[in-house]
């Protein structure tokens, strides 16, 4: 545990001094550092505690696969849990806190779990906490959650913004190491649109830290020259700090760009992260290969790290992991670490190669490496151990759509599957272990047209490996999955207990289930499990690879669509007028509708009651612009409507409106509304607000898929017209003042008239004499831009009649008083007959739903049909949802007779009343039933009556 800053070299800016805090203690680092490299350079190896045993853990990797060095980054609302210190770019003022320890990282009481580890073997949750059953929820689970867990989430709202964006390219290059750069340059030079994405803060991949020689120069300057060229090309997009996290159908890739994670607070107007959807004609996976740990006792002691990570820290960040190191390997590549460390003046205490001179049995040390014991009995002092168990191509993305990787004996690794030409692996991600092969594979993949350019000359290092999976002689724990504390012994145990299938062993031992998803440990686990099961690695196979490659924040998925912007808001053309009138709005679907217009001191009920009374006494104005309006034209428009509606429209006179009822093909009522005939070949349909979009889709289906031979055209005009209901005995007198050159009376404008008029001296308008309130009423439609102006003019015209604006609450009261069915009754279970509209169904034509509506069950007299309902105690409030029973019956499913579907306070009748669905209801008017309200746990008596509670003779309508 004696990491230090090497005197010179590396890609850090030593002229900058960045101050940061880890667990409250101040440290310094440089621009270009990661949190992990700055901590190592400061001599800190202990960065976290393990999940189960709370063992002290240090950083093991230098990249995205890090299982140990997880920290809570930042504080307050910007706090982010489980952040990999290896991926966090250092900035001035950075604050990080270790997690999963109590009270502190140095002294963790729960490390006692490690002493009791014999009971914490794989599957221990299932075995230990089974009994008594009642203990689980109250005792075991809270305890386990306290002891085992990672970072904590901030409970404050995230103050930053997130974005989504689409991108398109001919070639997406994932990874910017030697092969990725070659692919990008080759494709870019041929004019292709190229996106080069890399999860790192800088492009260059392994060339940022490996000593290579290419084209007569060092690897780094070779990379920088290419990156500069790519940056200058208009057809190339460079995306550093962007993780391609998933591969999806259609060769679409998900990407997460960490736009401003490397600063404390994003600059104004910039998002923290951006979620990309990249549509790539072709893509290449140049993600490189992951070095594997070796499995031996104490392979988790802080200071034990991957050999490549050790040279990554030293070469790129000038951060030495120790003063005297041991190297443990089963392959050639760790020789680089030996050479590089020597160059940095670091002592090599021992080089242990399983192919030559034995194994490390145990690492000694608690919070840092002190010494190692070898299989030959020798013993070396050292303060860090570099290990290399071979290389695994990072195949994840290529397996996201179900293909499985293929085991290769020569390099002892899973190779990416062949998933077709649109997505190919290149470089070490495809198992190429020589630099020249990597460069060449990139050039070949980047050649989208023309001749393949020559491959730059480079120096290769021969690669050879002899698989070695587990030092069984180890006496201390040998870890497979660091984060979840799965040890080598857990896998044979899983096999013995019947969980030998790779997917079962994963769940039984939790190997590969942590936030790192087994990036380092899975291949070791599969090999050990295969041996225990007496199978080959190839037979054992891998677990399933799924997106996301690394964790993606919820914020990025949500993008800008949060809070007020969760869904779009739709406003009517009368919105400003409604605000002037003091409207309280209600969300109806996406629409904002005026719900009631309270005067000082009024609650919703007082306001809506006053609106009803004033409308029924004089005149009221209601915004009904949200009703769906569909313009239907064409020679066969009438014939088409006859198919859509259960009643007939081809016979409707020009200039008249008719109530229409639409069924679904299964015979259930779908929607209703008033449809007018404006000309011989021109109708205007209205739909309910709720079903407007569904009706439009239905019309499109019926025409395009069922009857395309009909000459009919349709388009939504919902938004073109501001529509107002003007209702009440003074509605005619009010409107008369606006209308140009037309005397409104029963001759010119009879009930159900629909006509084009002009108002206010030439403004186009449509006038319909229709009523939902039961009053003498009109609906007036004007082009939307004039809506507010016309509404104000009507209010002025109606002033002498004490006109009121009324909202959907008053509208609902009036429709229930009149027994008009609406959403509560058109609820997807009712037939036309149930609604009392059975006679509307034509018997002279085919229409959607006709046949199915004739089924026995659909015409059964015992069906529940719409009735009116009132409490016997007229002072009582009733609510919808209550079930209807015969007076003598107990509440049960068998005794259920129906339920209340709509209720309202009736200002006119001075009581609560409603509409209900009641079995054989039309024959039961006058009967007193029991209403059982299970939700509120009470029951009461109610009288069944005709649904039309108010003005049953419809005198007001025709007044």
């Amino acid at each position: 545990m004696t990491g230090f800053r090497i005197a010179n070299g590396g890609l850090i800016d030593r002229s900058t001094n960045l101050t940061f805090k880890f667990d409250g203690k101040s440290f310094k680092g440089h621009q270009g550092d990661t949190l992990a490299s700055a901590l190592i350079a400061s001599g800190v190896h202990l960065m976290g505690r393990s999940f189960k045993y709370h063992r002290p853990r240090g950083v093991i990797s230098a990249g995205a696969s890090e299982p140990n060095a997880l920290v809570e980054l930042r504080e307050g609302p910007r706090k982010e849990a489980n952040t990999r210190a290896t991926m966090v770019e250092l900035y001035d003022g950075l604050i990080a806190t270790s997690q999963n320890r109590w009270p502190s990282l140095e002294n963790d009481f729960l490390a006692i779990n490690s002493l009791a580890s014999s009971i914490f073997v794989a599957g221990f949750y299932y075995k230990t906490f089974m009994w008594p059953k009642t203990f689980w929820e109250k005792i075991y689970e809270p305890l386990i959650r306290k002891a085992a867990g990672l970072g904590t989430a901030s409970k404050e709202a995230d103050p930053d913004t997130y974005e989504k964006s689409y991108a398109h390219c001919d070639l997406l290059v994932i990874g910017s190491g030697p092969s990725g750069l070659m692919a990008a340059r080759t494709a870019a030079r041929s004019g292709a649109r190229v996106i080069l994405a890399d999860e790192g803060s800088a492009l260059g991949g392994s060339l940022l830290f490996e000593n290579e020689e290419i084209d007569g120069t060092n690897g780094l300057s070779f990379a920088q020259t290419i990156i500069a060229e790519l940056a200058s090309l208009p057809n190339v997009t460079l995306m550093p700090r962007t993780t391609i996290f998933g591969w999806f159908d259609g060769n679409i890739f998900g990407g997460l760009e960490r736009v401003n994670d490397h600063v404390a607070v994003p600059p104004a107007f910039e998002p923290r992260q951006r979620y990309w959807r990249i549509h790539a004609k072709r893509a290449v996976l140049a993600a490189g290969a992951e070095e594997r740990p070796l499995v031996f006792g104490g392979n988790d002691v802080p200071g034990v790290m991957l050999a490549s990570a050790m040279r990554h820290y030293a070469n790129r960040y000038g951060a030495a992991a120790g003063k005297s190191i041991a190297v443990f390997t089963n392959n050639n590549s760790a020789r680089r670490t030996v050479g590089d460390m020597k160059d940095h003046g670091i002592n090599i205490a021992a080089v242990i190669d399983t192919r030559k001179n034995g194994k490390i049995i145990n690492v000694k040390g608690g919070k840092g490496v002190k010494s190692i014991d070898l299989s030959d009995g020798s013993h070396f002092e050292c303060d860090a151990v570099a290990m290399s168990g071979g290389w695994s191509p990072i195949v994840n993305l290529m397996c996201h759509r179900g293909a499985k990787p293929i085991w290769n004996e020569i390099i002892a690794a899973f190779m990416p599957p062949d998933v077709g030409p649109q997505f190919r692996a290149i470089g070490s991600a495809s198992g190429k272990m020589l630099l020249s092969e990597c460069l060449n594979s990139g050039i070949v993949a980047g050649t989208l047209k023309g001749k393949t350019p020559p491959t730059p000359k480079c120096k290769d290092e021969a690669f050879a490996i002899q698989p070695f999976w587990w030092v069984k002689e180890s006496t201390s724990k040998a870890f497979i999955d660091y984060q979840n504390d799965a040890t080598a012994k857990d896998l044979p145990l899983a096999n013995r207990e019947g969980y030998g299938h790779v997917e079962l062993a994963k769940r039984y031992t939790t190997t590969g289930m942590a936030t790192d998803q087994g990036k380092l440990g899975n291949v070791n686990a599969i090999a050990i499990l295969a041996e225990a099961a007496g199978k080959s690695i190839s037979e054992m196979g891998t677990t399933t690879f799924r997106p996301m490659y690394t964790p993606v924040s919820f914020g990025a998925f949500a993008g800008p669509f949060t809070g007020h912007h969760f869904q779009p808001v739709r406003k009517t053309p009368l919105h400003d007028w409604a605000i002037e009138q003091g409207a309280v709005f209600v969300e109806t679907g996406l629409w904002m509708r005026s719900s009631w217009f309270p005067k000082a001191g009024e609650d919703w009920l007082a306001s809506a009651s006053r609106e009803v009374k004033a409308t029924r006494a004089g005149v009221g104005l209601c915004d009904v612009s949200t009703l769906g309006k569909i313009d239907i034209q064409g020679k066969d428009a009438g014939a088409f409507l006859d198919k859509i509606y259960c009643n007939t429209f081809s016979t409707l006179a020009i200039g008249k409106a008719r109530y229409g009822l639409m069924l679904r093909e299964d015979g259930v009522v779908f929607d209703d509304g008033t449809t007018s005939r404006l000309a011989d070949d021109h109708y205007l349909m209205t739909t309910t607000t709720a079903n407007a979009a569904r009706v439009m889709s239905h019309i499109e289906f019926c025409h395009q898929a069922l009857w395309p031979e009909l000459d009919v055209q349709y388009v939504s005009v919902t938004e073109q017209w501001a529509q107002m209901a003007i209702a009440g005995p003074k509605s005619r007198a009010t409107l008369q003042k606006l209308v140009d050159g037309l005397t409104l009376n029963d001759e010119t404008t009879p009930y159900l008239a629909a006509k084009d008029i002009t108002i206010l001296g030439g403004l186009t308008a449509r006038l319909f004499r229709i009523s939902f309130s039961g009053e003498h009423a009109y609906e007036l439609a004007v082009p939307a831009d004039h809506g507010n102006m016309v509404a104000r003019a009507i209010m002025q015209a109606g002033q002498e009649f004490e006109i009121v604006p009324y909202g959907v609450e008053a509208l609902s009261m009036m429709r229930i008083e009149k027994g008009h069915v609406a959403g509560g009754e058109l609820n997807g279970t009712t037939t036309a007959g149930d609604l009392g509209l059975g006679k509307m169904m034509s018997t002279k034509k085919d229409f959607i739903g006709r046949m199915m509506a004739t089924r026995e069950g659909m015409v059964d007299p015992a069906r529940q049909c719409v009735v009116g309902i009132r409490p016997v105690d007229r002072t009582m409030k009733i609510r919808s949802g209550g079930h209807l029973l015969k007076q003598s019956d107990r509440p049960s499913m068998a005794n259920d007779q129906g339920y209340i579907c709509s209720v309202a306070w009736s200002p006119m009748l001075d009581m609560w009343l409603g509409l209900a669905l009641l079995s054989n209801g039309r024959a039961r008017h006058g009967e007193v039933v029991k209403v059982f309200d299970g939700l509120r746990g009470h029951h009461y008596l109610a009288e069944i009556c005709d649904p039309v509670h108010f003005d049953p003779e419809n005198r007001r309508l025709h007044a």
Partner: protein, 181 residues
């Protein structure tokens, strides 16, 4: 009569968002505008195309199979509707949509980058040349988009969504800085 756009009090002129020199995009509301939807009657696809090609001083924009928006900033909505009704009699159905849709123009070097945050359509010039229109969705709102120049597009949405859409569009343009004119 004076038409009042749904963005009249929302789209306030000025310079907004990040200040990085010249604005990344310029936004403006194209209003008033006369718009008619014309849809070919059965078997009249070609006749409609020909008839539309002969129209003068209007913009004809593709708006779906055998459907077009015919637009004019100079003509009144009544004049355009009447003219089309007459000229396209028995060829197409004509519906006035002048008030039902709000058209926003977006131009500038970052126009494509802003729109990429909303539409899955590839707006690269080779794929989406000047004059091309498409129907898509941005920020959960149906949008009719037309390229009117190298770095210039018009977006047309249902009037009722215009305020919500404007809020989204301006928030996405903010990082580049935008001018409302």
């Amino acid at each position: 009569m004076h038409r009042v756009s749904s963005l009249q009090t929302i789209a306030i002129q000025g310079r907004f968002g990040a200040d990085k020199g010249a604005p990344g995009v310029t936004l403006s509301v194209v209003h008033p505008l006369a718009i008619a939807m014309v849809i070919a009657r059965n078997g009249k696809s070609k006749a409609l195309k020909d008839a539309l090609a002969s129209l003068k001083s209007v913009n004809v924009l593709w708006a779906g199979p055998d459907q077009y928006y015919v637009q004019s900033a100079a003509k009144s909505e009544a004049a355009l509707y009447t003219e089309l009704k007459t000229k396209l009699a028995n060829i197409a159905s004509v519906t006035d949509q002048s008030h039902g849709r709000i058209t926003i123009r977006i131009s500038g070097p970052k126009a494509r980058a802003v729109l990429a945050k909303g539409t899955p359509i590839d707006l690269y010039t080779d794929e989406f040349p000047v004059g091309k229109s498409a129907l898509t969705q941005m920020a959960h709102v149906g949008v009719h988009i037309t390229r009117t120049g190298k770095d210039e597009f018009t977006l047309s949405v249902f009037r009722g969504f215009s305020e919500s859409f404007w809020e989204w569009l301006t928030s996405q343009a903010a990082e580049f800085g935008y001018q409302v004119s």
